[in-house]
Symmetry: D2
Subunit: 250 residues, 4 copies
C-alpha cells in the first residue's frame, strides 16, 4: 500500500518505481495506492503502472465537496477479492459493479455529488489532462519559489518528490506553525493546513490544487507572507513578487 501524494507532508511517491521493484521480486502482492490528492493534479497511469487498486475521493482535484469515495480495480484485484475468504459485505465490489452497469448503486448514494461529478469531469475533459498537470506544476513551482525567497524550508527534501498538490513548509525553531495559522485565519480569513502527528506546530501546508488559479494562489501566498510578518517569523520579504515574476516569465 502506498500513497501517491501524501497530503500531510507534500511528498509524491514514485508509484511506477515501486511497481518495478515489486515485479523484480516476483512477489504476488497487490499494489494498492491512495490517489485522493493526486487525481486531477498529477499524472497517474493506473493500467500502465500496473496498479491493482486505486482509492480516491471527490474533494481534491475533482473540485467537489467531500462525500464521494471510489476505486479503480485491476483484473487481478477482482480475482483476489472474489477468491478471498475474508468476510465482506459493505466493502464488497461485486454487487456495486453489477448494479453500476445499470447506473445504480446498492446503497443510498450521495446523489448530489454525482451530479456535481458529471460537471467536474466535463470541465477536466474540456481543459485536457496535459494542461491540468502543467498548471498544477506551475502552482507548486510558484509556491516553492516564494518559500525559498522567504528563506523557509520545504519539508520535502527531494526535488523528484515535490508535490503538485500541496506544499508543507517548516517553520524556524522557536516559532509555532499553529500560531501562524491562527493569526492568518483571524486576520485574513484563510485556513491553512496544520501539521499532523509529529509535525504538529512544526509545519503549515499550502494546498495548490483543484478549483484555483494564479491569482487565488498569489492571494494565498500574500496571506502567508503577511502572516509571517505579523507573527515575527524571520523571512525575506518579496516571495509573492518572485512568484509573480515566475508567472509572467511562463
Amino acid at each position: 500500500m502506498i500513497v501517491h501524494n501524501e497530503t500531510s507532508t507534500g511528498i509524491t511517491s514514485d508509484l511506477y518505481g515501486v511497481r518495478k521493484v515489486l515485479d523484480s521480486t516476483n512477489h504476488p502482492a497487490l499494489l494498492l495506492v491512495d490517489i485522493v490528492s493526486s487525481l486531477g493534479t498529477t499524472d497517474y497511469r493506473h493500467d500502465e503502472w500496473g496498479v491493482d487498486v486505486a482509492i480516491c475521493g471527490s474533494q481534491k482535484g475533482l473540485m467537489l465537496p467531500p462525500g464521494l469515495g471510489f476505486n479503480a480495480i485491476s483484473e487481478k484485484a477482482m480475482i483476489t477479492s472474489r477468491n478471498s475468504q475474508f468476510k465482506k459485505y459493505y466493502w464488497s465490489w461485486e454487487q456495486i459493479l453489477e448494479l453500476n452497469k445499470k447506473g445504480f448503486y446498492p446503497y443510498t448514494p450521495a446523489s448530489g455529488l454525482l451530479v456535481g461529478l458529471d460537471e467536474s469531469l466535463d470541465m477536466l475533459q474540456e481543459e485536457g489532462l496535459e494542461s491540468i498537470f502543467k498548471r498544477h506544476d506551475d502552482y507548486s513551482n510558484a509556491t516553492r519559489i516564494a518559500l525559498n525567497h522567504w528563506g523557509l524550508e520545504n519539508y520535502c527534501k527531494d526535488a523528484d518528490q515535490y508535490s503538485q498538490s500541496v506544499t508543507a513548509i517548516l517553520i524556524p525553531d522557536g516559532h509555532d506553525a499553529d500560531q501562524l495559522r491562527a493569526t492568518i485565519l483571524e486576520k485574513f480569513d484563510m485556513s491553512l493546513g496544520t501539521g499532523l502527528g509529529k509535525l504538529k506546530g512544526k509545519v503549515f501546508r499550502i494546498g495548490h490544487l483543484g478549483d484555483l488559479n494564479e491569482l487565488t494562489l498569489l492571494g494565498t501566498l500574500a496571506g502567508v507572507e503577511m502572516g509571517l510578518e505579523l507573527c515575527g517569523v524571520p523571512h525575506n520579504k518579496g516571495g509573492v513578487q518572485q512568484a509573480m515574476n515566475f508567472f509572467t516569465s511562463l
Copy 2:
C-alpha cells in the same frame, strides 16, 4: 440628481455639501441620489443629509446577484409624488408601500434575491457599519498605494473624492486599457471594469467592494501588475508588496 459614488470614474461626491448649497438657495427641488455602488461601502445618512430619494440595487455592497432595485423616500418626496400630475403606474410608490406593509409587492418580485437580502443584511448587521466602512477605506487605500507605486495615475484627482468602492486607473498614452483588460482576462481569468464613454480604452477599473477581503484584493492587484508586465505598460514593480506592507501596518 447626483450620484453618490460614480462607478464609472471612482469618484465619490459630497452629498451633504450639495444639500447645504440647495438649502442656502431655498430652492424647493427634491434631492435625488444614486447610492447603488456606495451603500454598504461608504457612510451614507439618508435622513441626516436631507436626501429625498435614494436609488439602490442589490449587486454591490449588498453582496447579491443583480436583480433588486429599491428606493428610500423622504416625506417631502412622497407628498410631491402624490401631488404630481405626471402619469405613473409601474413607477408609483403608493401601491408598493401599501402592499409592503403586509410583506407583499404589487408585481412579481425577484423572490430568490429577497431571501438572499435577508442573509446579507444579517451579515452586515453582525459586522457593524463602522467596521464595514473602515474595511472598504482600507481596500481603496491599498489599491491607491499600489497604483502610485506602479507610477500610474488615479482618474480621480481630488483626495476628498476618492471612492471606497472602485478605483479608475488611467493607462499611459500609447497603451490601450482594453487590451490590458483582455490580456488579464485571458491569462488570469479576471474581468476588470472597462472605461465607459469617452474614457473607453483610457482607464480600467478595480472594484474593491462587497464580498471580498485583503487576500482577494491582493490577488486582484497581482493580476493587474502581471498584466502591466505582459502588455509592456511602463510601471514600477512592487505595487502588490506595498499594498501588503500597508495591510500589515494596520
Copy 3:
C-alpha cells in the same frame, strides 16, 4: 396592445384574429402583445402572426425565478422606434441589440438567471414544443374537469379562450375566495392566486404551467377540494378522481 394569456382571468386571446382585423382596416398601428404567461405553454407564432413587439418574463413557462424581462421585435417596430421622437434611454432597443451581438448588455444583467435560462431552453428543446403545448392543454383540461365536477364555474365562459396556463374559478355567492385561499395556505401550505381588482374575493386561480407534472397538479386539485370541504363551500366530491380518470384515459 393585447395580452395573449391573461394571468388574472385565465383567458387566452386570439392574437391572429386581432392581427387579421388590423390588417383588414389597413391601420398602421403596431401590434404589441404580452406573452408573459403563455410562452412555453401555448402555441405562439411571432412572425407568422405578424406581431410587432412581444413582451415576456422568465418566471412562468420558462420555469425560472422572476427577474428577466425581454422582447421580440419586428422589423417594422424597430424602424418605428428608430424614427420615433419620444425620448428614451433605458427602454431603447438600439444599444441593447448592438451589445447583444457580442454577448453583452448595456446595464448590469441578472446574470444568475441567464445561466438558468440556458438550462431552461435546453430542457424545452429536448422535450419539443409540441409535447409541451400538449401537456399544458392536458393540465388545463384536467383542471376544468375537476371544477365542473365540483359544480364550480370557470370565470372564462368561452371554450375557445380557455387558458392552458391558469384557470380562474368563481366561488359561489356568500363565500369568500380569499378565505378559502387562506385556509388552504394554512392547512396545506399551498398558495393559490388571488382575484385581482374587481374579482377580489370572487375568484381563486390555479396555475398549471411550467415546472409541474400530472402528480403535482393532482396534489394541487386535492388541496382545493379539501379546502372547499373545510370552508363549507358547496361542491360535489370527486373532482380529483375525475381528473385522474382523465389522465389514465389519455
Copy 4:
C-alpha cells in the same frame, strides 16, 4: 442489533420491548439500533430506552441529501469500545469525540451537509417533535386508508408495527410490482421503492417521511392509483378520495 424502522418492509420494531427482554435475562450484550429511517418521523428515546448505540444518516427524516452518518453512544458502549481488543482506526470513536469538542472531525467531513444539518435541526426544533411525529402518523394512516380501499395488502400484518416512515404494499399474484413501478416512473416521473431480496417484484414501497406534506402525499397516492389502472392491477378506485376524507376529518 435491531432496526427501528425497516425501510425495506415498512415494519417498526418495539425497541423498548427488546430492551426489557434483554434486561430480564441480565445479558451484558450492548443494544445497537439502526434509526436511519425513523429519526425525525417516529418517537425514539435513546437514554430512556437504554439503547447503547444508535446508527443514523442524513437522508430521511432529517430532510438532507445522503452523505452523513452518525452515532449516539451510551456510557456502557464507550467503555466497551475502549476495552475492546478489536483493531479499529477509522471506526474508532475516541478521536472523533475528542475533536468534536472543538468543532472538528479527524477526517474530511461532508461540510456542505453539516451546514444543511444546521438548518434541518432548526426546522425540526421550530415545528416541535410532537407535531412531527403526529404528521408522520397521519401520513402513514392516509396511505393505509388508500391501500385498504384499493383492496391491496400491507406487507406489515401487525398494526402495532406499522411504520410511520414507509409502507410496503403487496401486489396481487400474477402482477409484477417492478412493472408497476416502471410504468409510474415513465408516465408520471415518480420513483417508488422496489422490493428488496425475496420481496423483489412482490412489493412496492411508498415513502411518507421527511420533506413532504398532505398534498405531496396525495399526489403520490394519485400516481399509484393511476398506475394500478394503467397496469390492469385489480383495485377499487377511490383510494385518494378516502385519504382526502381522512385529512379533512382531522
